[in-house]
Symmetry: C2
């Protein structure tokens, strides 16, 4: 298998400290879960690939027999591969937002249900916002302000702003929906 974008957060996490696949995933969820996700079906095959490519290696320990916990360590080659990837222009695949698509085509469906979709999305955004703010507070209370937390805070800030923007939009949109039959500038 080849190196996919999925390998980058793996390499990145391993610059923090040696970790096992399971651990890597937890760290991903807890820090960049905001804007990135990895499934096990992606992580484990990639760990093998990265290993074979010499970008990471298994930390020698007691095990190695069959499938017990394996701890991986990043190699110098791996660090360089990560640096190279960071230098390359980010490619982002085209967006696909089902909620907005449903809003857009709301006239063809049940408006009440579209409204409910927005309400639910709003609730989720509120929950997300709270989580982000909690993490932000935690990061701020760290006495040592090293790079890691600095850039982490930057990505968090966008998450927070996005959530706030979205919540505000939901409120506006919900108000529009309420005006449904009030607003009588009828069509054509």
């Amino acid at each position: 298998m080849a190196l996919t974008p999925s390998s980058m957060p793996i390499l990145g996490m391993l610059t923090w400290r040696p970790m096992a696949g399971y651990e890597i995933r937890q760290e991903i969820q807890g820090s960049i879960g905001n804007f990135w996700s990895e499934s096990f079906g992606q992580i484990y095959p990639q760990l093998r690939t990265l290993s074979e490519a010499g970008l990471i290696k298994i930390l020698p320990g007691k095990q190695s027999t069959g499938q017990s916990k394996k701890t991986y360590e990043i190699t110098d080659t791996g660090r360089q591969a990560l640096r190279d990837w960071i230098a390359r222009e980010p490619v982002n695949r085209p967006p696909r937002d089902e909620l907005l698509l449903k809003v857009f085509f709301a006239p063809e469906g049940d408006r009440q249900q579209v409204r409910d979709h927005i309400k639910k999305a709003r609730d989720e955004a509120v929950a997300r916002l709270r989580t982000f703010q909690a993490i932000e507070t935690q990061l701020q209370t760290l006495t040592t302000h090293h790079d890691k937390s600095r850039f982490w805070r930057m990505t968090l800030k966008l998450g927070i702003s996005d959530a706030q923007t979205f919540i505000a939009w939901c409120d506006e949109a919900l108000a529009e929906f309420r005006n449904e039959n009030t607003d009588e500038e009828t069509e054509k």
Copy 2:
């Protein structure tokens, strides 16, 4: 082939008027291109599938011989399928933002290059914003305020807010990067 999420914008566009595949794609780009995209490799096979499933049908015209332009029309079954889909909860696949990932792991790479990535993304957002605002103006000048333009405007508004939020974040982030060596609260 089965019905994929890709079929929904196709059905949606066909509620506007009968169209050919090529046309559908243009309309998608020009209206929901903001938050959705379709490639031809997706559209043409789906048109066949939708046709076979009876959700759309070819408008009888001169052609039908081989591959010349085919115009499709949505059927009642198709409208119902669209309604049903709108009613279902939107599922959004996990986000993946390479720019943020690069920002997050900036300490492991070349900061200057990450800065450049942000600058470029900012420029693109500014361009996007202008496009959205132009479309918004156009929509507002329409004398008839029917549902279509109303919901369209709603989705546009989120695009605009998102772009503005993102641009503001870029500015903040770029300022942070400038403080790189000015800010002397050193690490650990």
